[in-house]
Amino acid sequence: MKFKTLALSTLLAALFVSVQALAADISLLNVSYDPTRELYQDYNAAFAKYWKAKTGDNVSVKASHGGSGKQGRAVIDGLEADVVTLALAYDIDAIYDKAKLIPKDWQKRLPHNSSPYTSTIVFLVRKGNPKHIKDWDDVVKPGVSIITPNPKTSGGARWNYLAAWAYALKQNNNDEAKAKEFVGKLYKNVPVLDSGARGATTTFVERGIGDVLLAWENEAFLALKESPGKFEIVVPSLSILAEPPVTVVDKVVDKHKTRAVAEAYLNYLYSEEGQEIAAKNYYRPTLESVAKKYEPQFPKVNLVKIDDVFGGWQKTQKTHFADGGVFDQIYAK
């Protein structure tokens, strides 16, 4: 009996050890936009635990963060990202247009146009709101210093710009010229253009520059959490629905033989745990059950969609953010 127990224990131990020895070590690179550091720090740990339990394999996810446009260009230029989780669809479309690393219909592969979470643009002001900023009109007043990043490099900056433009269109019967004038006034009040959203947050929160930060909602909540009592969030009367999309980079995962893990990594963003993590990091979840649970956390905002107001990202990029586009005309003045 003793021998049988010993033999069985030994066999089990050997099996355990051999399974451990056979467990693969997989590495993924997630190239993401600027403010998602905290989100993916939490998410990567959760996914690794989930994948280990499911397959026995060890997966470590390295994350790279920066302005969404810059990050997209880095992937086009050869940065071997297994997945990209950028701020807007155009920056991922460019990965198809310029490098053919993904299929043209990449956005259809995952639910909600490949956006597992959404966000919007709000104002972060200093405690007491000394400049009495309530809406977009207050932001463009003379003497108000605005912090927003560079739309040429930052996805968040493009959402900021478009939110302001959408407001101006609504206020002026869709008059494009008046909208341009409005956004022009906005950028006249911008003393510093950071390359990404996180840089802009640093400028406002840590360097103490500016009266208002046009921020990703999650960035604004993060600033409140990390600097309690110093800032307030002001929700404008109109903002834009930001849908940061995600995709596997097909040519890279096929080269690295990481497709299965990479796809699972993105799919898990839509799971209950993934959505909970997003919500806890102040991204608006798309899974109904989690969205309902965290509804009180997020202010009600009148949101417009880029497709409805601007005709989609391709047209928007060409009109506003391409070289010689409206932003260049505004900022050059």
């Binding site: 210093s145 003393p191 510093v192 950071d194 390359s195 520059i209």
Partner: protein, 487 residues
């Protein structure tokens, strides 16, 4: 009293001589607010400037990661990518000699003069951090029809430190002195070992690498095959026979605090099988140290109807095997290098005379050298070039590096080659050459070197006479000077 004070105060205020306290306070408060606003505005401006500088620094640092690096220094000129993985370098070696043959055979009289010994611009570089390439043409005297003007042309893939692959035309990993760069050799001409026995350059491929933290170097290669001291052409091989080379070299005390740290030794070998023809014998000629004439040749002259033994062509007849034990030792300013090489060569006489016809033999020809150097200005000697502690400065601040060198060497032909003059004629080819040399090298800086060598070579045979009583070839006495520029 109080009434009077009040009256006076009222009158004074009314006249404007003094302001009412409330008005004064109100003015102070307003000014204070203005000052506060001004200070805040200035504070913001300063912060904005600071932040812009910070962002500019970040952008510069990011740009630096992608900006190619241009280099121009005593090590050459070149461009390198910001990540260092891709690089191209332009270098050169130029040697201008004056060669004086103070005494010697008729064939070395009246040939004193200047000589562009090596004029070698080179392009070399690295791609993807792993693939090195090197291309070196020759425009100097070293260019011959047998090397097509290309000294080196190869690619070296450094997959791992212990597994690297080189392919193209390059120095086979065989001779120790040969593996030294032409700009780093201690003497104006290499020894008999390098010039007369071991291969110079060949076309082929070699797997090589460093093991045990660089203490053991190995190389295994396959080549088209060259005659002793030969330099292969870059065109297609004229026969299917290949030559194999293997080398092991160890520096067992490398990196240790030991008096033997500078010791290195090893063994190399080559083996090939080549059957020569009357137009391509596959056999070498052995040059004198002066490199202008041959002191030994196999019988090669063919005269129709001749009855003389040497009038027949000797060709390689199969196996050619070389062994080359080798060593060096460097300690402080002293250095010593020693090499021995023996070639075992199958030969055959293709003549028609009955005495020589189809006669075959296996001959062992060898050479060895021992050379010493002493950097009297105290620099550290090494296998590679010398970097002076103080560059030469005409204003007297530095004298460069000065080095004394001395060498003894021999090249011996198998006596069997001369038996009945079947393979060589003792009246025309010496059976040994013994030379001693001394010299001074002056390294003005890392790139400029002046050298002077005196070498005297004694021969046994090869100077006429008869087979029974051969005369020794006259001693060769050379005084060579060199100006070398390298970078």
């Amino acid at each position: 009293m109080q009434y009077k004070r009040k009256l006076i105060t009222t009158l004074l205020i009314g006249s404007g001589i003094i302001s009412a306290p409330q008005v004064a306070l109100a003015n102070d408060s307003s000014e204070l607010e203005q000052l506060r606003a001004l200070v805040q505005e200035l504070d913001q401006k300063v912060r904005v400037l600071d932040r812009k500088n910070e962002l500019a620094d970040e952008a510069a640092a990011a740009a630096k990661k992608e900006t190619p690096i241009v280099s121009a220094s005593e090590n050459g000129f070149g461009f390198k990518s910001a990540d260092g993985k891709n690089e191209i370098r332009f270098r050169a070696l130029a040697q201008i000699d004056y060669r004086n043959f103070t005494n010697g055979s008729n064939d070395t009289k009246n040939i004193d003069g200047f000589d562009f010994r090596r004029i070698r611009p080179s392009v070399e570089g690295t791609l993807y951090g792993k693939y090195d390439f090197r291309f070196v043409p020759e425009f100097g005297d070293n260019k011959t029809t047998s090397n097509s003007g290309i000294v080196d042309a190869y690619i070296d893939a450094r997959f791992k430190p212990w597994f690297q692959v080189r392919a193209g035309k390059f120095k086979p990993y065989v001779g120790l002195e040969r593996l030294q760069s032409g700009g780093d050799i201690k003497f104006i001409e290499r020894s008999f070992v390098s010039n007369n026995i071991l291969p110079n350059r060949d076309v082929g491929a070699s797997v090589h690498g460093d093991l045990f933290e660089g203490k053991l170097n190995y190389a295994v290669g396959v080549y088209n095959g060259v005659v002793d001291g030969g330099d292969n052409v870059t065109s297609q091989d004229t026969n299917g026979d290949k030559e194999y080379a293997v080398r092991l070299f160890t520096t067992p005390f490398k990196g240790e605090d030991s008096i033997l740290e500078g010791l290195g030794f090893g063994l190399a070998a080559t083996h090939g099988n080549f059957t020569g023809t009357t137009t391509n014998t596959g056999l070498p000629n052995y040059k004198t140290p002066g490199q202008e004439t041959n002191f030994f040749t196999y019988n090669a002259k063919l005269t129709s109807g001749s009855t003389t033994a040497y009038d027949s062509i000797v060709v390689g007849n199969g196996d050619r095997t070389r062994w080359a034990p080798q060593a060096y030792y460097y300690s402080g300013p002293f250095g010593i290098i020693a090499e021995y090489a023996v070639v075992t060569q199958d030969v055959k006489n293709t003549g028609s005379l009955a005495a020589v016809k189809n006669k075959t033999a296996t001959l062992d020809n060898d050479a060895w050298q021992i050379a010493a150097s002493w950097l009297i200005t105290g620099e550290t000697a090494s296998f590679k070039g010398v970097k002076p502690k103080n560059n030469f400065d005409p204003d007297g601040a530095g004298w460069g590096a000065w080095e004394l060198v001395a060498r003894y060497q021999q090249n011996n032909i198998d006596n069997s080659a001369f038996t009945n003059s079947v393979f060589a004629d003792i009246t025309k080819s010496a059976k040994s050459a013994k030379a001693w040399a001394t010299g001074v090298n002056w390294y003005l800086n890392q790139n400029l070197k002046l050298a002077v060598n005196y070498e005297q070579t004694n021969f046994e045979g090869g100077g006429g006479g008869t087979v029974a009583n051969p005369i020794d070839r006259p001693n060769e006495k050379t005084l060579f000077t060199r100006l070398q520029i390298s970078y």
